[in-house]
Amino acid sequence: MTAIATLAYLVAASLFIVGLKRLASPRTARGGNRLASVGMLIAVVAALVSQEILNPIEVAAGLLLGSAIGLWLARTTEMTSMPELVAAFNGFGGAASALVAGAEVLRAGAGTFRTYSESGETVTPIPDLGAGDLAVVALSVLIGTVTFSGSFIAWGKLHGRTLGAFPGIRILSVLIALGVIGAAVALVWTGGDSWRMDEAALWLAVLAGGALLLGVVLVLPIGGADMPVVVALLNSYSGLAAAATGFVLGNVALVVSGALVGASGLILTRIMCEAMNRSLLNVLLGGFGTEAGTGGSASGTGEERPVRRTTPDDVAVMMSYAQRVVVVPGYGLAVAQAQHEVREMADLLHDEGVEVVYAIHPVAGRMPGHMNVLLAEANVPYDQLIEMEEANPDFAQTDVVLVVGANDVVNPGARDDPESPIYGMPVLNVDEAQQVVVMKRSMSTGYAGIQNPLFFLDNTQMLFGDAKASLKAIVGELKALQPA
């Protein structure tokens, strides 16, 4: 019975592996996700039949309730809010792992312990949880709970809530961390020959409470635009929490899947940090999230130097005479939700024989690949989306670059000005094109809080206003220009 369950878990894990592998290519990604979900179904069925279910109603209710909530959230959330949703789901996963590990302690303390082996069911009295087991429980509760509260702070920040750090938060974090470690040690201490269940439960509660606070104070000081990195890292944590819970339960499915997710989250975090040319430590210590960001936008809102302004009509005419137009989307496109208008504009230009492609910076938008998802939602075929390395050599042969709500990712200072705070971050070299049109609402800065020398170049024109409204105006003019 358990042997069959283990084999089923192995099949599930293999499907996760193949699924993740297929996620590496746009053509196979959807099938890969489905394979992984079949694997999950197999694991759930194996868990359901591998033991006698004493509480069928609770199990069914839990599954139904969770499915309903999950279905509802997945169906109704808008594409632009995907980052928040992923953060929230991630928090749920972390909390679930922590709760399972905690429940295992409570169960062990409740007097009976059922094991099912080939020789049938055995009900044994409390097996003293050893110190080793309790250490793993502590790890699982700690990581899972930090994931939970951290994810929800990230969720709030992504949602646009202004949750900032307060003075002394660093010292507070250190104090809480020390307290959490103390509680973990105390919990492990209760293990051994005469296991004291009530004490263990007490320390478990202290540990969980501390970890809850810890997640909050760790994520609070990190800048809002760094939340994607935080979510990727917390995703890795939720995997590790699942793996730790797997060690507690001795369950191979949890260990394999948790390790897979833990490793993949870490790699993803590293890729994202590299794309911003920052170290993970710099991100986590809130390098220039809040302080610099606020300070910068204050100093940046004044228009000190003259810029050239333009109108939607001029931009429409200019583009319709161009041979090649490159659209550079940024975070502002997501804010304005203007992906459909961009696509409509590109189609009109395309019909007039203008070559239109999209140059996507790896950290444009709110999450890695966020721009791709947005544009895909507006039915832009993915072979029109060009990655940074491919796009950069061709800007010199480009007539018009249309920057839609991007700022830092097109800052030439990152390339040329060693004084710039983002010096060294690879950027899209849009300044090499004939003409650059920048669409944004004001002269205020982007995430890094620094002014952008691009705006003051001779070949740059600014089109102020909400990106959606501006694009609508351009589309209207393009239609009016059309011969038919």
Partner: protein
């Protein structure tokens, strides 16, 4: 604690690194959401706890875990599918287009 489980953990971690270092930036958001759904595997642990426990405390803590893990799993896979549904190659996205306009793709 089982040592062979630890071996399994290390191998799976190596595998995770190999699998992910190949994913292009285009797919990072669906990847994050898909792997997040996989980390909902803790649903298995929740079922084992809720199903086999008479102890009321453990049962209700497990129940909360079960609900949360199920939200993570069901929601995670569905939302990933929704995102990936939108990734279509050129031909599929513009069915009405004439063959000649394909020249725009680079």
């Amino acid at each position: 604690m089982d040592l062979s489980l630890f071996v399994v953990f290390v191998l799976a971690a190596f595998l995770g690194v190999e699998l992910i270092s190949k994913v292009p930036a285009t797919l990072h958001t669906p990847l994050m959401s898909g792997s997040n759904a996989i980390s909902g595997i803790t649903i298995v642990g929740a079922i084992l706890i809720v199903g086999a426990t008479g102890a009321p405390w453990a049962k209700w803590v497990g129940f909360a875990a079960l609900v949360l893990a199920t939200v993570n799993v069901v929601g995670g896979f569905l939302v990933t599918d929704r995102m990936l549904e939108m990734f279509k190659p050129r031909e599929a996205t513009r069915p009405g287009t004439e063959a000649g306009t394909n020249g725009t793709s680079s």
